[in-house]
């Protein structure tokens, strides 16, 4: 894949590579390369290393600690992190809540919460979906009733990623039941350690624990934790979602996955010949590579528009739909490349140091797991069907 960077960009790329080489713990990269999941401590350590260099919140405005990078620089940073198997930056505080606070938060909120995101004092999770409000997010029922200086919150959130690591949650809550549903929603910042908050794990089909149900029973939330205006949360929620979707395209991850796939296809022998010589398989790799190349330029185009001042709009839906399709294609091909290697099941083989019976390359154990887990990509962050509705409505006027 030809990346066509300028000399300055190549110099920046070398700088990022050198930083990663010096700072990224080798055992952690080795674990992630084999498909393992980083622990909370490992994620916090990586955040802290990035923060020391001023790169954790690189995309924030410079006055709040941003690095002032061009979209291409941000892309290079992400790409190099993915190629080196560094952990992904946990997006909930850094990339989701922060843009909302910067645009809509009060000065006091910015002053209090933004530094805590930067230094890792708070681990945020996202309280959006509910059992009855998935694609139809505006149907949220979790209620927040004002009582003096507090809101009293009751209800349930679901699919809450890494809630079991978090001490804070930003929530969409219902503060009014009259009028249009969208007009009765508010955006609240809540303490996960407050009395009345309960977390239950959800185990997904590959056997992992990433997501949770979060229950609220008479949870007291100080009114100063309301972001923006009461009943105007839908506007902030949508603003946040466009950021979530831009990140979801995962071009850097896909480029790293494509390289790994090509390597696997060369190493894997079928009937005595490398799988990469199989014209059928080679054609499928070529097709996804073309789509990815195309996605990369499109993503950069959208990021350039954002840098020029436009908020990412419905274009982020395009990135989400097509970017996740490519990622699913790649895991599907990787799993195919591993063939029967990808069907044994060793729950105990997670991570490195597993010395049990092994029938194939070590990463084969995770090819299937990742294939199952990545079914989520076309569902979360607003299902791809919802994204198509957004494109039809916002871009096509249908």
């Amino acid at each position: 894949m030809d990346l066509n960077f300028s000399d300055e960009e190549e110099a920046f790329r070398a700088e990022v590579q050198s930083f990663i080489k010096q700072k990224l713990p080798a055992e952690l990269a080795a674990k992630l390369k084999l498909g393992g999941a980083p622990s909370k401590a490992e994620l916090e350590q990586w955040h802290s290393l990035l923060n020391e260099r001023g790169w954790l919140v690189h995309h924030w405005p410079q006055e709040y600690g941003g690095a002032g990078w061009s979209p291409v620089q941000a892309f290079i940073f992400d790409l190099e992190c993915r190629l080196a198997y560094a952990p992904a930056i946990v997006p909930f505080g850094v990339s989701m809540l922060a843009p909302v606070l910067i645009k809509y938060g009060s000065d006091a909120q910015k002053k209090h919460w933004l530094p805590r995101i930067v230094d890792g004092s708070d681990w945020w999770c996202q309280g959006y979906s509910e059992p009855g409000a998935g694609s139809d997010l505006a149907a949220v029922k979790t209620s927040a009733i004002r009582q003096g200086d507090h809101y009293i919150v009751n209800g349930q959130k679901t699919w809450t990623t890494l809630a079991h690591f978090a001490n804070m949650i930003f929530c969409l809550v219902r503060t009014a039941t009259e009028g249009k549903r969208q007009q009765g929603i508010s955006f609240l910042l809540m303490d996960m350690k407050a009395p009345g908050v309960e977390i239950k794990p959800i185990i997904t089909i590959e056997g992992g624990h990433e997501v949770n149900e979060v229950f609220f029973t008479d949870v007291k939330v100080p009114v100063e934790n309301l972001v923006g205006e009461e009943n105007n949360g839908w506007t902030y929620a949508k603003y946040l979602l466009t950021y979530e979707r831009t990140n979801i395209a995962g071009v850097g991850s896909s480029i790293a996955a494509l390289l790994a796939l090509k390597q696997a296809a060369k190493q894997r022998k079928i009937n005595g010949r490398p799988l990469s010589d199989d014209p059928y398989f080679a054609a499928r790799i070529a097709r996804v590579e073309i789509d990815l190349e195309n996605m990369k330029t499109t993503n950069l185009r959208v990021l350039a528009d954002v840098a020029a001042g436009a908020a990412p709009g419905a274009e982020s839906s395009l990135l989400k739909i097509k970017g996740t399709e490519i990622r699913q294609q790649l895991t599907s091909l990787m799993r195919r490349a591993m063939g029967a290697h990808a069907i044994p099941y060793f729950p105990e083989a997670d991570g490195i140091g597993f010395n049990g019976p092994n029938v194939g390359p070590q990463n084969a154990l995770h090819a299937a797991e990742e294939y199952f887990n990545f079914r989520k990509l076309s569902i979360f962050g607003g299902s791809n069907e919802i994204q198509k509705n957004i494109v039809a409505k916002m871009m096509l006027g249908l």
Partner: protein, 376 residues
Amino acid sequence: MEVLSQDNQMLHDSARRYLADHQPVAAFRKLQAETTDLAYDLSAFEQMSELGWMGLILPEKYGGSAFGYRAAGLIAQQLGRNLTALPFTSTAIMAATIMAAAGDAMLAQWGEQIATGKCVMALAHDETTKHQLNPLDASVLAATAIATEQGYRLSGKKQFIIDGYKADRLIITATLDGELALFCVATATDNLQIDKQILMDNRNCATAKFNNLILPKTDLIVQGEMAQNILSKALSAGRAIVAAEQVGIAKEVAARTLDYLNTRKQFGVVIGSFQALQHRAADLYCQIELTASLVATALNALDNEADEAEKLSRAAKAKADRLGKYATEESVQMHGGIGMTNELDLGLFMKRNRVLSEFLGDYACHANWLLADRNI
């Protein structure tokens, strides 16, 4: 949609009722949780043998019912729909096919044993992790047999032996005098090490290692060109039956999805009222019916001993691989987040389907075979 003979319709209906009552997906979950050594329910296996499912392709003279492969495919579909763990494809189909084709002596010895569920047999053929494009080619086999005065001495390694763990007999392929040979080997034998291979579908897959395994003369089933013909037939039968199980899986996840589309409400209406989802469900229906007819054609070809049985069974297996992937992925997608949870059964269907896709050759294996065969 399939129009069945009266006998087959009755068989289908009784299998459907029996499995719904006694072996629903919950029974599989229970087995999974118990992590017993035997990954199927022994008493259920006995009952299903009594229902005659193990003898469907065996002649009546040897304890079977001679219903044939098309009928067996109906059972496989129902096993797929309920995720019922049963040594069906390995024993009732592949081993029975081998014995039936090997002649009366073998049938006399093994027919009734198989039909009554007294003997579980698994084919130990694959040595590489990918099913060979030309599995009948003896030159790619590393397992060898040497004739001795008393019988044979067998050495080699096999893997992905479906139902091979806790089987009574393994049908082991090896080269003998440079030719393909099939041996029916008792598993309780010195120098034969059988280990469980845990696959994501939680069944009884196994690996086997044998070094200077001493076999009596009577363990040789067949050798040479006839062994190739017999193995070919068994693999074709296995492929078509696996394809039928995958059709069953696709039908089940599609039915569950349809239920969900009719009950889940978003935006104040059931999500099945959205045209985008209606079209997806309709596409899924079309692919299921198309695949079901190809599988039925392949099974009929096996019943008629037609020349194109191998080609059709490979095409059916390839098509079912595509269908299984498509149907399980679509069902998860149309369920949304809830489809991703372990609590719902969709993931279990997805995992069983994954193993079946690899077993006896995946899409690429058969597509490449058909590609090589295109000049006929």
